[in-house]
Symmetry: C2
């Protein structure tokens, strides 16, 4: 069969005026009189649909008139430009083939459905305006990320999902197995014999590709990952999911200042690409989901991100005329309420750098002060922490010392530590949670609405 | 620090003639006389390195001369074009900073290492010429795939990795858990109480995103996935891995003929992009890994893919003057030896379509003959099956009947079956194993050398 995407029609309708076209899609609504009617049709390739006009010269006029929302049809007809109307063109149908008529059982009717209800029918919600907009922005943003890194000479590396080493600690990782839970092979002492598992030992699905990414950065200088990541957190909040996508760039011969330059440039590039390629979606979300969304994104493009030490941030928070739930303390972490205040204080994105070493990971570069590490979090207005990165400790003796101090088992990551002996260099990297970016770009405030089929504790439907 | 990628130098050396540049990377080799020496340096942003000339006016001349392969250095010097030499330019060093000198312990010396040895040091092998070429082609091909689909109006969908439904059967999937193997909660009957697990039931990591992809195709018309996939196969062959990446496009209002058009166009687009963007890598692999690689890829671009029924292929195989290991039989499967013969017979890629229903999946569209399904495999010279796809059964009653015949539990996929009630339409999709594409594009004959950190039975290092 031959058909034209509705997206193409919206791009080329001026040239198609008076020509015959075939489109296929799903009905949003039908309204009709005795002799003619209107169908609001969309095929999901674009945000805006098309209006189809049909009349009783069609032999199946009665059947078409009775169609419910969600029914699929194939329409052939003449495209007619309508410069005087709200929509730029419409289709005058010469034939409407009914592919599949839905019954009243169809859960999506032409009325407002709550996001909570829509989560329960995750397999149908992409048909709604909200998720049409959110998931297109998600797709376009994903491409914008690939485009930025590829055009800037980065290698895309598929770091492994199944792993026996991990940078986040194995208690936060899902165990995987091919063994049968009700028939586990046992050692003489009664424990489970993991040597009988497919990999001959306990394996996990990963919480980060950073360690493997560093190995490639020390070969190819500039690399990035983009893949799914898993955490076992038993936490039911608006910002936690057990499966999410991450981007983890890693760059050799790059210090913390260079890293912030890259983070800032990359984010602006992605936001700019989305604004350019999803104007209708952004306008819809601005109007119905997050007032001021467009302005927030446009402002980001022209703002210079603030760069400030963690210690300075604490001073600002302590001096603030605010009654904090969590008291900001020297050497302490920064809570959600502080993140919010500090981006408002500076009126834009803020890099908070040089964090107290005790609340950060072993692989981060210890600063000359012996108290802080060269770590940086990027806080953005309305979404909090969007990226977390650091300069990595490149000295073999120093990273071993940090492992010992923090109780990290060096034997499990000997290959990673070896990278510090075999052509080590100053290098840095960051991680960006992709769902958090999608939330920032769309204004949706629950991670469950930023990913097609969310996985959260007790919730793994579909 | 400020440095220039060696890739950029190779693109712009003509304009940089006589100018000072700073580059940083890893030493391939050093050779020197008493007063001057040459360093073969690469930073991995490109295939070709640069030649650095240094002399004894440098205060650390002796230290530089003693550097081993793999050492990291930062070189500042004058770029000098050398049109009369093999390399187009070289750098006359005014300063060489030693970042990290490797010792004799460094496993990669300037000699030939077998791929088997290199697999054992997977964290260092990207520094070799072979893997520099293979992993760059992998990265460029991944981008070419995104580019093709995005430019053609497809939505990139992140289908879930953690799932409780799967199209390939749960016995082929890894189970995941947060329970402790040596302290499992039990039901009164002694079986494991999976309600205590994070998701409240047994969950898996997926073997395919197809079912979820179909839900989005029936909302957005044209979608694709690109993500990791897992199979538990306990198989040690050159073409099996337990973790691999897949691309699964799914298209609404698309029949089997349309699907083949898309597969052919997409493959040509990707091959063309790789030939254009990785000429040096392809030439290297053509010379040292797979003679005739470039010719094979260029020929594909201009060839028209053959389209032939499975039954006809069997007849050709049966009439062939070949002593088969596996006898080709009507209604039977097609073995590796047959795939090879048939692509040679037609001198190019071959779509084998309309397969016997009994050897294919329940979701494939039953043809009017009642014996075959509208499935299609794409066979390519030198790599065998590269894509497998089908038109999907869009009729609710018919797909339910096929489930019953094939013993598929309908209650586990009720939402998927419901898609046939709620605006169903003719739709089709295919899957392409990304590692198989990388093998086809690079000529490497073992899947372990096409993916950064391969996972195979008993093998999950790093």
């Amino acid at each position: 069969m031959k058909k034209t995407d509705i997206k193409i029609l919206h791009k080329t309708y001026a040239q198609l005026d008076g020509k015959e076209v075939t489109v296929a899609g799903w009905i949003k609504s039908v309204r009709n009189s005795k002799t003619f009617g209107f169908i609001d049709l969309n095929d999901g390739t674009t945000f805006a649909g098309v209006q189809v006009i049909f009349n009783d010269t069609l032999s199946n006029y009665e059947d078409i008139s009775k169609l419910n929302a969600g029914s699929s049809i194939i329409v052939t007809g003449k495209l007619v430009c309508t410069p005087e109307m709200k929509q730029p063109f419409e289709i005058h149908a010469s034939a409407v083939e009914i592919a599949n008529a839905t019954t009243d059982e169809y859960p999506l009717q032409k009325k407002h459905h709550s996001v909570e209800f829509l989560r329960e029918i995750a397999y149908l919600r992409p048909r709604t305006n909200l998720f049409n907009a959110v998931f297109r922005i998600r797709s376009v943003a994903a491409f914008a990320i690939h485009k930025y890194f590829q055009e800037n000479g980065y290698l895309y590396v598929h770091t492994p999902l199944i792993t026996t080493t991990d940078c986040e600690g194995s208690d936060q990782m899902f165990k995987i197995t091919t063994l049968k839970f009700n028939d586990l092979p046992k050692n003489p002492d009664g424990t489970v014999d993991m040597t009988k598992d497919l990999f001959g030992k306990q394996a996990y699905i990963t919480g980060s590709g950073q360690l493997h990414g560093e190995a490639f950065a020390l070969a190819n200088s500039k690399i990035y990952t983009f893949g799914p990541t898993f955490r076992t957190e038993n936490s039911n909040t608006k910002t936690h999911a057990n499966e999410f996508w991450m981007i983890e760039p890693e760059i050799a011969f790059c210090d913390l200042e260079n890293l912030m330059d890259i983070e800032e440039e990359m984010l602006k590039s992605v936001v700019g690409y989305v604004l350019e390629n999803c104007p209708t979606e952004i306008n819809f979300l601005d109007k119905f989901v997050a007032n001021g969304l467009r302005e927030k994104l446009e402002k980001l493009l022209s703002s210079k991100f603030t760069r400030i030490d963690h210690a300075e941030v604490i001073k600002i928070l302590q001096a603030a005329p605010v009654k904090w739930e969590f008291r900001p303390e020297e050497g302490g972490d920064i809570a959600k309420e502080h993140e919010k205040y500090i981006t408002e204080y500076f009126g834009g994105p803020v890099f908070i750098k040089n964090w107290p070493k005790d609340i950060k990971a072993y692989y981060m570069k210890l600063n000359p002060d012996g108290k802080t590490v060269a770590a940086v979090d990027l806080e953005v207005p309305g979404a909090g922490e969007l990226m977390g990165g650091s300069q990595r400790e490149e000295d073999y003796a120093k990273i071993c010392k940090r492992c010992d101090e923090m109780g990290v088992d060096k034997s499990a990551i000997d290959w990673y530590l070896n990278l510090r002996k075999f052509g080590s260099c100053v290098h840095s990297g960051f991680g960006m949670g992709f769902e958090r970016l999608v939330m920032y770009l769309t204004g949706v405030d629950n991670i469950r609405d930023s990913i097609p089929f969310p996985r959260t504790p007790k919730n793994c439907e579909y």
